[in-house]
Symmetry: C2
Subunit: 389 residues, 2 copies
């Protein structure tokens, strides 16, 4: 029986993880969970799953949930809150496996502490590897515990890498759907509207990741994640456009053999893989090979998508530059969504912020968070409303 | 240093194996070789490689080569001939790895003896698994030595299977180029000429395998090979048409993940893989992922290609039925090439021969060869010239 903690239990990955646990009650037990501010969902989960610890973002929500559960005779559930609460959920002594799925830098500390506590960790949070990848992977190596990627691309790479040894891997090829502007001429990029950018051809996702997919910044983040997770230099992590998103990624070995992973686009599959690794267990998440029909591929256009270039630069520099890349992008995308800047300004804000961020290699999560805060204010200063003042 | 025996040294796989050895002199040493009747090539190889044993098909050729080499001061090379000579090459005590690449049933005995002698064996000979697969794989399991497939499809499956455990494999998907008649209406099949059938769209191969590709019998043989090699029932070995032949095969796991292998279409890659397994070593046999462009897939049409159906029936029955399938097909294809029967008669000759072959499970290579000879004469009896007499 694997006892599981979920960081981000009310989000999309959290729901999928609960579904996987529900479908395999003989293998998995939900032990602890950290929700955000959705107290209604957190309460329902507490009733259904009876976790040992339930953490909420704010003290006020925690108080409310504690009282309600006590009234319902569920007072034995330990209620926590804030960063300390998330860390408590992640490091509970009975937990075997931590699913890290809190969006943003809020999940960094708890994920790092889970690794330090020798837990197996499944990573669905981008910032853990983009902003704090060097720290977290170094700690996982010290603990000799696997960091299992829970997103379709890196999970695919992880599967393909089993076809050889680490020192036999020549290149990693991340597939990219290409976003809505794959076939838009570069000259039209300045006129791209928020509505156009939010209209992703194949995926229904949150606003930031949809814009990051349109700029290919999201693929750039994945390049950095692959560099950290698989200990590869950026020049050996490549991107290829594949609009159907059927092949989730490929691994090229030193003999010239290439392995690719295909599957349904359902996050429960990488979650199940991470939870059961090194085993695989039966699921009904089936892709019928007879439905393959046609797959297309094309090289990405670096002139059209400067964010991808910036991500490669950040991957090579590491440390503070990757923190700045992520922080500035979050600020710039928010400004684009508020129509304060244009689509092509996003990469400009990110590039200037990266340039102004001193080259540093943080040695603690606290230092990562400080650089992140600094980069956010540097990015704010690039915005026109700031200049106008 | 891995010491290698090549059975079929003057054929295409033999030449590619010698090239792989030549490119990796620090890893591989050619120790013994069995040629056919090409004495010129065998002599040149003896001069270049100085094998411990060189075997030729006929006693006469062996005598000629022995004398010539003695005159050249290469009298220390042991010259052998016939089946005993091939067995000597395959079981030489200093040999580590045997590449089995003699076409037809002539290679069966030596390959079986190599497995019995505890050698690692790389299989490029179809009959070893189609006609004698049960015997040879059972012996390899007894010896606890790997049988490594040297053809692009099964080599691809072997690579993909490393992504999980044997009991986690749900299905094997062999890709098929589809041959020259993929888009020909079934109603036109009776009129197919020898010239049309020999005009394969993507591969330049020998005559029999080209016709076997046009009828999909070759893919049928591969289904049987996969069943034997990977110990899978035929219903879990599937075929999918993929005209570009870029993906060499796929493996579907029980969790729904599918791994695929891609590479250049150069036999040196599966040879290198087999020789170095479980390691991989650097090669220049590169496929550029950026050249992928477009891949197409379609289900095979069972009505158009009855040979594929017959192969599945033979795979399920095993033993004498698979021997009859191969023997009758060889007879029928030869008759088609001599214009004695039409294209659609090939499957009819095979089906009648299979039906008339008693169900038996041979327990020795000699018994396999006896059933093979009997099936050949049964097949001959189906031919019109026989009926006409």
């Amino acid at each position: 029986m694997k006892r599981i903690a979920i960081l981000g239990s009310t989000g999309s990955i959290g729901r999928s993880t609960l579904n996987v646990i529900e479908n395999n009650p003989e293998r998995f037990q939900l032990l602890t969970m950290a929700a955000g501010s959705n107290t209604e969902a957190a309460l329902n989960d507490a009733r259904r799953w009876k976790p040992k610890v339930l953490s909420l973002a704010s003290e006020q929500d925690a108080e409310k949930v504690r009282k309600q559960l006590k009234d319902e005779g569920l007072g034995e559930i330990e209620i926590a809150h804030g960063q300390a609460g998330t860390v408590r959920v992640a490091t509970h002594p009975e937990v075997d496996f931590v699913v890290s799925a809190i969006v943003g830098v809020a999940g960094l500390k708890a994920t790092y502490e889970a690794v330090r506590a020798g837990k197996e960790v499944g990573l669905a949070n981008k910032e853990c590897l983009v902003a704090a990848g060097e720290l977290i992977t170094a700690e996982a190596r010290r603990q000799n515990k696997p960091l299992l990627p829970i997103d379709s691309e890196h999970n695919a790479v992880h599967q393909c890498m089993r076809g050889g040894r680490m020192n036999e891997v020549e290149r990693v090829w991340l597939t990219a759907s290409g976003g809505p502007f794959l076939n838009t001429p570069t000259s039209d990029f300045e006129k791209i509207t928020v509505e156009q950018a939010l209209n992703h051809p194949t995926w229904k996702m949150g606003q930031r990741i949809t814009i990051d997919s349109a700029t290919l910044m999201n693929k750039g983040f994945e390049v950095i994640e692959a560099c950290r997770l698989f200990d590869m230099p950026p020049e050996r992590v490549k991107v290829i456009v594949h609009p159907q998103s059927t092949i989730h990624s490929l691994v090229e070995f030193n003999d010239g053999s290439i392995l690719a992973q295909l599957s349904v686009t359902d996050m429960r599959l990488p979650i199940l893989y991470a939870l059961t690794y090194p085993e695989r267990i039966e699921s009904d998440l089936r892709f019928n090979v007879l439905d393959l029909k046609r797959l297309d591929f094309a090289p990405p256009d670096p002139d059209k998508f400067p964010c991808l270039r910036l991500a490669y630069e950040a991957a090579a520099a590491g440390g503070s530059k990757t923190i700045a890349l992520n922080a500035a992008d979050e600020v710039a995308v928010a400004a684009f969504l508020k129509r304060e800047i244009g689509f092509t300004d996003i990469s400009k804000v990110v590039e200037r912020t990266m340039n102004e961020t001193p080259d540093r290699h943080p040695e603690s999560i606290e230092e990562v968070l400080a650089i992140d805060a600094q980069a956010r204010s540097l990015a704010q200063e690039q915005l026109p409303r700031h200049v106008a003042r």
